[in-house]
């Protein structure tokens, strides 16, 4: 057998599903999303969430960064606060992708 040509192994959908899922793969980050979805209208400060979590603020900040990089949330600077909201584009895409992932056929 000669060399297998495997240019593209995973579909874009699979890659995206993995990316969004990975972002949700920690209880703190699920908590954050829950928190933000519950307060979709007003957005939230990092400190609001920090009060309910038994982790250092710097650790929370890292989780927020991951969610932001995955496209699930966005931060808006509102000094000296930073308001966090759901990123509706990413959230919708994740919802759509996971939806069809679980509900097919």
């Amino acid at each position: 057998m000669e060399i297998k040509e495997k240019v593209k192994v995973y579909t874009d959908k699979q890659e995206k599903i993995a990316r969004y899922s990975k972002a949700l793969g920690h209880p703190v980050r699920v908590f954050i999303m829950d928190f933000l979805v519950k307060n979709t209208d007003k957005c939230c400060y990092s400190g609001d969430m920090a009060e309910e979590l038994p982790i250092a603020r710097s650790t929370l900040s890292q989780h927020l960064k991951e969610l932001k990089e995955a496209g699930l949330i966005q931060g808006e600077i509102n000094p000296p606060y930073i308001k966090y909201c759901i990123n509706r584009t990413g959230w919708s895409e994740a919802k759509e992708l996971l939806g069809t992932f679980f509900n097919r056929k």
Copy 2:
């Protein structure tokens, strides 16, 4: 009563969502789930999937193990093969949990 009360920060749902999401947080594992769902009736051998993936069989085996431990798939020994199938219980739970996670209010 209790000597030490363990404060529960995350709900069971949040923990489970994180667990299932983490399991799906790699393209190979999304691929595997896609593969198994597509062949829900007949189940699949590890080797069937190995042929389509550019990774060592031992690596695939590890991913299968993770999905199994997360409760998303199950393996049935059928020597010298092992037939893998969706674990319907876990799959349904993940579907339900993620569904309500994304579609609330």
